[in-house]
């Protein structure tokens, strides 16, 4: 059971690292989509099927599309780019920061004493999830619905800019 977990984990972290380091923006987005599928595979291993399918449907099916549209709408041809400034040192500092955070977290994980009993996972059915969402968490569900509506209306207004272009004045 652990071997599957380790393989999925290594593949996901490898594709995520590749996604953050490629020069071509679209390759980054595609590799990140692969790592999102890896995370969905982890959810399936853990027995949270609903979360896995929701992850694929939302991230791979919708957010990746939005990202690709944004990438394509904000492209510039290669000749317009001024040469990049000294970004090598910035990358080095960023990797140092990431490594430091990883070291702290991994030390905490390794030192903590977690029970090694591999108990069978909780059986979460869709019915129980629905009862939970409509019962104790109903208020949160409504708030998330309002949040999504407001955020998406705001995004549309932001992206639409100043409305339709006015026709040329003098022709």
């Amino acid at each position: 059971m652990n071997t599957v977990l380790v393989i999925v984990a290594l593949a996901t972290v490898a594709t995520a690292a590749a996604a953050m380091s490629r020069p071509s923006l679209l390759n980054c987005v595609l590799l990140l989509t692969v790592s999102w599928t890896g995370i969905a595979a982890f959810y399936l291993w853990a027995g949270a099927e609903f979360a896995a399918f929701a992850q694929v449907l939302i991230y791979v099916g919708a957010i990746s599309m939005a990202l690709m549209f944004a990438v394509l709408l904000t492209r510039r041809t290669r000749s317009d780019f001024p040469p990049a400034r000294a970004s090598g040192s910035r990358a080095a500092y960023a990797i140092l920061a990431g490594a430091a955070v990883a070291a702290v977290l991994l030390a905490a994980v390794a030192r903590s004493s977690v029970a090694a009993a591999p108990a069978p996972g909780p059986a979460s059915t869709v019915r129980q999830l629905g009862v939970q969402l409509m019962g104790p968490h109903a208020a949160a569900l409504l708030v998330v619905g309002v949040l999504l509506t407001v955020a998406l209306i705001g995004a549309v207004v932001l992206a639409a800019g100043a409305g339709p272009a006015r026709p040329e004045g003098t022709r």
Binding site: V13, M20, I58, Y59, L106, P122, L147, L148, A151
Partner: protein, 103 residues
């Protein structure tokens, strides 16, 4: 290493990769991708603890993750709309160029 520790190490590594990517790249969309990775790593943590915890309420972890995915989707949409607005203003989405408060 128990399976829970492997899961937590996995999510910590993913979080660190997302953090390094968000700090290193100068393209705004790549910074957004790094933030998405960090959110996904947090979701991984939630599912890992849900899987290996004593079974109080059977679906709380999954409910948490569903809400987190929804909020992440909303945040991505707004972030991308902001990127498009900035592009319309200055024809460049590199973060070093967004230095003026005018406009």
């Amino acid at each position: 290493m128990s399976p829970l520790q492997i899961c937590l190490a996995f999510s910590s590594a993913l979080f660190a990769v997302g953090l390094a990517g968000a700090l290193a790249r100068s393209n705004s969309i790549l910074v957004l991708l790094g933030i998405e990775l960090m959110l996904n790593a947090a979701n991984l943590n939630l599912i890992a603890f849900w899987r290996f915890s004593p079974h109080g309420s059977p679906s709380t972890g999954v409910v948490f993750v569903v809400f987190a995915i929804a909020v992440a989707a909303a945040e991505t949409a707004v972030g991308l709309a902001l990127v498009i607005s900035i592009y319309r203003h200055q024809q460049d989405i590199r973060l070093e160029e967004a230095t003026r408060l005018k406009g």
